[in-house]
């Protein structure tokens, strides 16, 4: 049995009865047991329920009962998305034993379509990081070379899909957290338009920029998952009441006659040479398919890292104030505490990156600095959006490398947070402006590490974006993960 098939292929085989869901899920769980020591994608694996659910679905298929569109597809969920009955730790000591009383909307929608949640996957603590090294439970490793980082913060999602421990995953993308591990682990990852997917049940980090995003082996799989998780949710008033779109329909339409802008600020100085030349080859392939590619300058991108980290830290410092051991946290017993000591004791369970971001957030929001940092960052955000609006009058899509560099060694940048922040330069534009962006695996470097190419479209144009991503995917021929 091949665990490396696409989710779409799995569905058609399960539907036709050529594979048993139970057998596939059991093999998936065996695979997890076999490779987890090397890559550490999971925080929690739900062995028992996954198998029981698989048996139940097989029964439904056999007796020709109505089965959800996922047909028992094994899926992993980033551990900052709430799942009733399974721990949601946010990879933090603070929530080490937290079990949410409800499912996030994205999770309940997947479950109602008979997806099987095999487990919860690793991330940087509270999704703050770009490598998964800031997890309280230890770093995840890149399946393409375990000495290297898998990207982050949805590193566990990227690793679990790439290493064939599941068919698809949900991550969350605040500044590139879906696309970075997608690029570093050679899988597809989509950051949807802000407001397309419900955030109800996603543990808040920076509410105004984050979205839940699907990750899978193919663009069709990502479109399939988006069909399920997108749409208005009365529990999240930022979701938009658009008409339902079938993202899988016409995905093979192609990009002939489309215009693509090459973002000059994202492919010039500071970009790894191999990444730049792979991206240029991707651009040539898009041209061969009939697209016209032109350079586009978005000079506001140069200010995006400063603006992004100002806004994200400010929102983080506010969101994380709820972890005070009154609403969430530890059981300290009934001995007497002085109030401040009690709160400080509870909050000593945050890791260093989370503390750093809270300190930065408090700094930029301080009375004397609000206008100097936070307000300016918000203006940069408007400037980026205005420049993108202009760009999308001229082109259908934008293209860039997903990450400016190749995956790097575990520990290489952990003591230099600014250096790590700067690696987000190509991804955060989509978060600050709200537009959708997708990372498509394109090549493997001479050192055997994955390179992804990023495509952007205007807000709520995911259908077009997935068609372009599909066209690019069809030009590639990538090797199997060497794990």
């Amino acid at each position: 049995m091949n665990l490396g098939i696409s989710a779409t292929e799995f569905v058609s085989q399960a539907k036709a009865g050529t594979i048993s869901v139970e057998e596939f899920v059991a093999k998936t769980l065996d695979r997890i047991k076999l490779v987890e020591d090397k890559i550490h994608a999971f925080i929690t694996v739900d062995y028992q329920n996954a198998l029981a659910k698989a048996k139940e679905i097989d029964k439904k298929i056999k007796s020709k009962d109505k089965v959800g569109t996922c047909f028992g597809m094994p899926i992993s969920i980033k551990d900052n998305i709430c799942t009733a009955g399974i721990k949601t730790t946010c990879a933090s000591k603070m929530l080490e034993n937290f079990v949410a009383p409800y499912d996030a909307t994205v999770v309940s929608r997947l479950k109602s379509e008979d997806a099987i949640i095999v487990g919860k996957v690793n991330l940087d603590e509270f999704a703050m990081g770009s490598t998964t090294e800031f997890s309280y439970f230890g770093p995840s490793r890149n399946p393409w070379n375990v000495d290297y980082v898998p990207g982050g913060s949805s590193g566990g999602s990227g690793v679990s899909v790439s290493a064939q421990e599941c068919l698809a995953s949900l991550g969350s993308d605040t500044g590139g957290s879906v696309r970075s591990p997608a690029s570093f682990c050679s899988v597809v990852g989509l950051k949807p338009t802000y407001g397309l997917v419900s955030r109800y049940g996603l543990v808040s980090y920076a509410n105004s920029i984050e979205q839940v995003g699907p990750m899978a082996r193919t663009v069709e799989d990502v479109a399939f998952l988006l069909n399920i998780i997108s749409g208005y949710d009365s529990h999240d008033d930022t979701t938009v009441k658009n008409e339902h779109v079938d993202y899988t329909k016409d995905i093979t339409l192609g990009i002939s006659g489309k215009k693509i802008g090459i973002i000059t600020q994202m492919i010039g100085e500071g970009i790894d040479k191999e990444v730049a030349s792979a991206t240029n080859r991707a651009i040539s392939k898009l041209q061969d398919l009939g697209a016209e590619c032109v350079p586009i300058s978005l000079d506001a991108v140069e200010h995006s890292v400063a603006a992004y980290y100002t806004i994200a830290s400010a929102e983080a410092s506010s969101n994380l104030s709820r972890y005070d051991n009154l609403r969430y946290g530890f059981d300290f017993g009934t001995e007497g505490y002085e109030f401040k000591a009690f709160i400080l004791k509870a909050r000593s369970n945050f890791g260093p990156e989370v503390v750093r971001r809270m300190l930065l957030g408090a700094y930029v929001l301080s009375a004397g600095y609000y206008g100097k940092y936070y307000l300016k960052a918000q203006k940069v955000r408007a400037m980026i959006k205005a420049q993108l609006d202009e760009a999308f009058k001229k082109v259908d899509f934008l293209v860039s490398p997903t990450m400016p560099i190749l995956p790097y060694k575990v520990g290489e940048k952990i003591d230099d947070p600014l250096k790590m922040y700067l690696t987000d330069i190509n991804t955060i534009t989509a978060n600050l402006s709200g537009i959708p962006a997708i990372s498509v695996p394109f090549e493997i470097s001479s050192s055997g590490l994955p390179i992804g190419v990023q495509l952007f479209a205007n807000s709520f144009e995911e259908k077009k974006l997935l068609q372009a991503a599909y066209a690019l995917q069809e030009t590639t021929n990538l090797p199997e993960v060497p794990l």
């Binding site: 400063a306 300290f332 400080l344 909050r347």
Partner: protein, 88 residues
Amino acid sequence: MVDRKEIEHLGDLVKVDLREPEKYIKQVEQIIKYFDRLDAVEFNSDATLRNEVDAENLRDDKHEPCTISLIDHLKKDQNNFIRAPKMV
């Protein structure tokens, strides 16, 4: 310039006891210095980007009974009382 006094003040604001404030001084200062480049941006508009939701698009403000037994998730002692630490 971020000094020890400032970092301890920030620690107070976010209610975190910084056991090694020195560790954070240099890093926070370096990052804030990077943020200072926002000073050099020339804006031709005062517009900021906000996600606005029309009041009429908010869901109806009506009572919906909670279907989850939240009480089951509370920490209780054997007599079914909710237990909380004593504050002095």
